[in-house]
């Protein structure tokens, strides 16, 4: 019996993964789709028709969503490319550290980033304080498109920089030297040899950015208000108004668009794979030039200018949040943290208290890690093998990347949380389990994508050797493959944990009126009237997130492991 289990261990975990996906992802998403076409027990196209024929939805919601995604993509590429150039072509102290920092936005809770931007661009935020200090008129950026676009660039420019840097570093120096020896000038060689190798990476970064920003929720919610509503935000407001069929119809349309975009992305990415790392990368230049020729000085001025922009976009919002948490209008204060303590001691039962939020976040994070890592690893094993129907499994397993947390949350809420009749028994999944399930579904693709590339690079003969020596497939995975891709597994686990800690979209839907609220939910709730308590909660969240980032940085990049992102 034991050996039977061992021989079929992979299949069993795969089946369990499929079951979990079915229950907490496909079933909820299907619930949403069904609700979009079934009203009061009758099939009707009315909700969908309403959405697809309404000028308000098409122009004000969908067009605006696409438009802000497009602007955000342009901004992210514009902000990311110089970063890639500097990271790939210059040598300076801390370059490796900076390169690994580009993963940071991925583990930043989006609601925290939103708070940071509020603290920066708000009426009495850092920006206006600075402007006032030097005697300039203040600006109102909050609840405007630029704030949203800059916040999106905060998230996605590092992504663009990351993938482009990787591509740039894999450009073979001898290809450039060949072009030069054939008569090309340095500029010409750059356009003819380097640029064509960068374009696919830039396209991948841009497409991913568009997909992500199209489905962006907390940033737009916090920075756009309901005046500037993307589909996600509007679905959320419909859910709050209990207009479920309208929300479902919107969610269905949004999901179809997101899935289509992701499909295009995966197809494109798949075609670009397979050109390995250049054996012979170009040497990096020092940031301190040997001689201060005018050209060198110009280059350095560009780098310094870019550095200022980076600090403004990436450091100022976080710093603003920290500063806002310890100041009020009159100076330094610990009032905001005291508010958290008071709320903890005297908060009413319907109010959100900080400690349970922290505790819930940690418990859900660990739970997510425990569920998402085996799921993600087994899917990574499956996706690196070739078998019939692999592409379909790939797509089905990666679908959670494309479907927004709001949609999954809505489906879970309307299905399992409210209760489902299974063979006459009413089955309900309570808050905590539902939250962990939703987090795991959102997190395991990241585990898969940090493990799969490393697994794919492993020689399949290692496993075959182990098996011919007597190891079962599962044993070979544990003895040989996992130790060799440990960096990817740990990075994936940290991803899963950090994503769970920062997850907002589905949590806010599922935690509505229950005890299973998390830190991001608390941040959003405290945002209500004053900024202070929210920033204090945000700093707490920052501390926990930074900790998990340290783990990612330590284990992930030390081994040079580059996941799919």
């Amino acid at each position: 019996m034991g050996s039977w289990i061992e021989q079929h261990a992979l299949a069993l975990v795969a089946a369990a993964t499929a079951a979990v996906l079915l229950v907490v992802f496909y079933f909820p998403v299907a619930t949403v789709f069904v609700e979009a076409v079934v009203v009061d027990g009758a099939i009707t196209a009315a909700p969908l028709r309403d959405v697809l024929t309404s000028e308000f939805y098409l122009v004000d919601i969908f067009w605006f969503t696409a438009y802000q995604a497009l602007l955000s993509t342009v901004a992210s590429v514009a902000l990311g490319l110089p970063g890639a150039w500097i990271l790939a072509r210059f040598e300076f102290p801390g370059r490796e550290a900076l390169r690994s920092l580009t993963i940071l936005p991925f583990v930043m809770p989006s609601i925290m980033v939103a708070i940071g931007f509020v603290a920066t661009f708000g009426r009495s935020g850092t920006l206006n304080t600075a402007l006032a200090a030097i005697g300039l008129p203040t600006v109102e950026l909050l609840f405007t498109l630029p704030a949203i676009v800059i916040a999106h660039a905060f998230y996605n420019a590092p992504l663009v920089a990351r993938v482009t840097t990787a591509a740039w570093e894999s450009v073979d120096a001898s290809a450039i030297e060949t072009a030069r020896s054939l008569g090309a000038s340095p500029t010409r060689a750059f356009y003819d040899v380097v640029v064509p190798q960068l374009l696919p990476a830039i396209a991948i970064g841009a497409t991913l950015t568009f997909v992500f920003t199209f489905a962006s929720f907390p940033i737009v919610l916090a920075l756009g208000g309901f005046q500037l509503a993307t589909v996600e935000v509007f679905i959320f407001s419909r859910i709050q108004n209990l207009a479920y069929s309208e929300a479902a119809a919107l969610a269905a349309v949004e999901t179809v668009i997101s899935l289509g975009l992701t499909y295009l992305y995966l197809r494109y990415e798949g075609r670009q794979r397979g050109d390995g790392q250049g054996a012979n990368p170009q040497p990096r230049r020092s940031v301190w030039p040997a001689a201060w020729a005018p050209r060198e000085v110009g280059t350095r001025a560009v780098i310094v200018g870019y550095g200022v922009v980076v600090v403004a976009v990436f450091v100022v919002p976080i710093a603003s949040m920290v500063i806002a948490s310890v100041t009020d209008g009159s100076g330094l204060t610990l009032d905001h943290y005291r508010f958290l303590l008071e709320r903890q001691q005297t908060g009413a039962s319907y109010q959100i208290r900080p400690l349970p939020a922290v505790w819930n976040s940690l418990v859900f994070g660990v739970g997510t890690l425990l569920v998402a890592v085996p799921m993600g690893v087994v899917l990574a094993v499956l996706t690196t093998r070739t078998f019939r129907g692999r592409a379909a499994i790939d797509a089905l397993a990666m679908a959670p990347l494309a479907v927004s947390g709001i949609v999954v949350g809505l489906g879970l809420l309307r299905g399992l949380v409210f209760g489902v009749d299974v063979f006459g028994t009413r089955v309900r999944v309570t808050g905590a389990v539902a939250v962990v399930a939703a987090h795991a579904v959102g997190a395991y693709p990241f585990v898969t994508r940090s493990v799969a590339p490393l697994l794919g690079n492993l020689d399949s003969r290692l496993v075959e050797s182990a098996r011919s020596l007597g190891a079962t497939r599962a044993r070979a995975l544990v003895d040989i493959e996992l130790p060799l891709v440990a960096a990817g597994v740990v990075a994936g686990a940290a991803f899963a944990f950090a994503i769970s800690i920062g997850e907002f979209d589905s949590t806010i839907v599922l935690a509505e009126g229950s005890e299973s609220y998390t830190m991001p939910v608390a941040v959003e709730r405290y945002l209500g009237r004053r900024l202070g308590p929210a920033t204090a909660m945000g700093c707490l969240l920052l501390a926990v997130t930074s900790l998990s980032f340290v783990v990612i940085e330590r284990f992930g990049d030390r081994y040079g492991g580059q996941g799919g992102f």
Binding site: Q7, D459, R461, L462, E464, S465, A466, R467, S468, L469, G470, A471, T472, R473, R475, D479, I480, P483, L484
Partner: protein, 425 residues
Amino acid sequence: MRLTLDGVRKEYGDTVALGSRAGGRATNGRPGAAGVDLEVGDGEFFTLVGPSGCGKTTTLRLVAGFDSPTQGSIRFDGQEMAGVPPEDRGVGVVFQNYALFPHLSVAENVAYGLRFTDPPNGEHRDERVASLLELVDLPDAGPRGPGELSGGQRQRIALARALAPGPDLLLLDEPMSALDARLRERLRLQVKEIQSTLGITTLYVTHDQEEALAVSDRVAVMADGAVEQVGTPQAVYRRPDSRFVAEFVGDNNVFEGRVESVREESAESDGPSRTQPESPVETKGGGSGDAGGNRSIDAGGSDHRYVVCVDVGGTTIPVPAGRRIQPGATVTFCVRPERMRVLGGEADVTAWDVGGEDRGTDTAVTLDATVSNAEFLGESTRTYLRWRGRELTVRTADPLSGDVRVGFERGDAHIVGVDSKKAPE
């Protein structure tokens, strides 16, 4: 252990990796598409040799259980292996790229298989590891990491690891291909020695025909997913069954021409045959199933009862044949370069009893050719000649140039193919 492959065929979608690629025709009375038949005896060193894509590695992977055949059966000592996972087959596998586990030390690598089975002969695990490291001449490598070893050393560790659990069958997949020439020759000698000491049944896969001839008890020459010929190295080299084998195994001069006449030969007039006595000759046609007709033309060794006169580009060349071949049929035959002599002085000409130009007498043939190129190999020179628009290869002591006359004896020509269909009735 005895290994049997019975009509084994492997397809990946529409691609036939192993088995006849001609498609689903019935062979040997068996329905369905043709597969590969092989029989490897207990303790035998058996080699699959062929160009890349011929199906040799596929065969090895099917035997190891990494893939399962689309059709046919694989048996170990008569026991069907279908559905038996690799870990339960008791095979040791050595790959070209060593596939040592990089996170384990050399000793841990060798001991890995002992996690799942006890060492044979009641040995202790550590003793077993030590004795295997001894066997491959690396007794002190145990604590080192695979990365600290040279290619040849890694390959020997891979061999030790494969042998540690005491497998019944050893599978070697191009184990020498990543090594440099000198090391390759030394290592293959060592592998052969270890194999015969242990008496373990061994299936060896290589694209290098020279290596195959050097180490094997028997070889199977494969092409296009099918077995072209199975036999001892000597048999395959001296009596190739097909044009492919003739050209793939060693250098060869292949001629094709139309049969002009056939006559029966008495044993005496054949004279003392130059064909040397051979170790057990077997020329089994395998299950390749194509051109089955010309398989056994020459199977009779030196007792050729017929001589056919073949017209090759205007020159008549006598060739011994094992059976009567109808005049008009197209015959393909070959002569090894080392059997071709360059006829320099008058003495040679007299001895060879020939006239002034290309001709074939009853027992010998001379051809007038022009040297086109030569490669000095050290122990001899491979000289390329142009003869009537064809290329010939001869072995000489020194590079030649200009016009030369080469000759060979009738007995050195060997028929590899007859196509009666080309013959006009």
